[in-house]
Symmetry: D3
Subunit: 141 residues, 6 copies
């Protein structure tokens, strides 16, 4: 089971386009959300809040927050293409995000992993002056 | 038309899963390929060679090579999550890539843009000791 | 014609020192300006505003804004030497900037390119506690 | 006295263009050289060797090597625009470099500083498929 | 229990200096080693091999390799101070490393974490032309 | 004499654990302090202020500020593991810092060097949701 692919499809596809993948989605836990901001901190916060509220990760276990946080950062590296800091500079993001938790490996002991995907637009804070962007982060949990 | 989304779908979906998107693909030029290596230089080279051979970009116009090169680098930032240099350190990538060229904007003057997507696995050079990874880069051409 | 060299000279030379290069400057479009701030976002904004107001790039064509934005970022990497984010940390910049637009290649099809140069000082926010810095970014437009 | 500006002019100007600056150059120690390679290590080595051979820095005092090394790295950040590692990926540089050593401050105690500038081309390893690039690094010595 | 502090002390202290900390070391699993190279890949490999051979992590469970790998990378960021790629450029490292595995949190559910520390010298490949360097990485396992 | 090791021990050890190293500390100048913030600028400022107030560096000589500033940045790269910019994103640091100034080399001409070490915790702004972190920077002064 490919948790990364599922996270990517959850963010890039429209609801009707997702139909063929519904069966695969039954085997994982996931949540969806939107974040639009010029401020990376708010984007991170939006994902963490959604994942905790929808019980994809536990609110009180630090190792789950730690795992999710690093998966978010990795996904944001894709969104900002290596310049997370610049995320705050003049650029607005309008992003759909998905967090997927599942067991991608058959081997015993590999346990659960988490995938975070973003898809949307990045650009000048003017509608139309922007292009697509996406990112995927994966971590063991 | 979303050239980024199409590039992402071309790399993540199996052939049969791509059927619903065939109509959208008629409006763009694209090529597909595979690159598997521990060496980023070979990955870049594989994409450039494919894009030139299948005439997605012109071999003799530097501005097209320049545009593609930066789109590839941006996509690799997503693949390596901000540490392209580490791409060469102990990690093998097995990647499917897509280059899509089209006109994502309605406005006159915006002209053609190019999207490069990678999807595959990154990890230790041992089968199974790896996880999914992806990246998307977009540039005007 | 070397648009990068011209941008560099426009920022480093005093007006009287520029005299020998006046003829070369006739073949390009350029604008000059100053930006002094502890905030990278304001520096980027100052260049974009100047370039649009003096019609070096079109205000309404996104691909021109996109091209200029990435040329500015590349030049700022030189200014901050790889740590754009740190630009905001305790350091003031006092920068002269130049944007040069021209055709650096003889071959048909290469079209126009843009160069952005910065030159000035970077340092603690106390006069004298600073040293020179510069950066150059180039992109196809 | 601006050691950074002098280093920049030494790399960007032709010999005849440098004439107006000859008097300023009498107040500093400097050396010039060329480095052309796809390998950053060779570029660093070329500058260090030239600076030692022409006695701009002492070969046996580590603090001078340490100071020059960091000034070179900062200048290379400008050349590669934040992605030194990528310097090795598919891109050739053909660079002129200058090392300038002098006393840029009037205050007692500030002592000597060193400036390293690069100017040249970076691009695909095919003549013409390249554009200008430059970088400047400054350090106390 | 502070696994990071223990890893740091294991690499910086001489054997006789470590005596006061022996009791704390009984509560964790750890291994020690040395890596000297101009090549980051060999440094990573030395740590992974030592940690597997001395059974600090399991050789066959990917999530443990994944956790250790990212802890090593984080520690190397400290060693190379943000420029891992430059690790390979002209600089030799002579490093002592420690891997410590333990339970730093009292709360149920936090489970085991891993710390990787490096301490040694980095510099020109000439004895004496080098200075101290260190790094610490921590991850949940 | 190892100024880096002393800086590391000053930040990681409790007062009573430092006793065996008191004699070595007599040969260097050093100061200690604490910085707790979500803002890197405040952390840098806390170290600079402490080092000047306790006369480890001169307040009026720029080259000493310049040297300290770069040593602090290098140490922060270890603390934030290559992503200084992210230091400001959602993460609080509670850090102890030490600045050590001394002569680590026997050779004439090497003169004084400075070491900056940080040790403490980094994590979500909730007590307990954090892990250890440290960093070391060294520069000639």
């Amino acid at each position: 089971m490919k948790i990364g692919k599922l996270a990517v499809l959850l963010t890039t596809l429209e609801e009707e386009e997702l139909a063929p993948f519904e069966k695969q989605l039954e085997d994982v836990d996931f949540c969806l959300g939107r974040a639009g901001s010029m401020n990376m901190q708010k984007v991170i916060s939006a994902v963490e809040t959604a994942a905790k509220r929808q019980q994809i990760i536990s609110e009180i276990v630090y190792r789950e927050t730690h795992s999710l946080y690093h998966a978010i950062l990795e996904a944001l590296e894709g969104v900002t293409r290596g310049q997370i800091a610049i995320g705050d500079m003049m650029r607005t993001v309008g992003l759909k995000f998905a967090v997927v938790r599942g067991k991608p490996y058959d081997r015993d002991g590999e346990g659960e992993w988490i995938a975070v995907a973003f898809y949307g637009t990045i650009g000048a804070p003017v509608k139309g002056l922007e292009h697509e962007t996406m990112g995927l982060g994966i971590n063991h949990i």
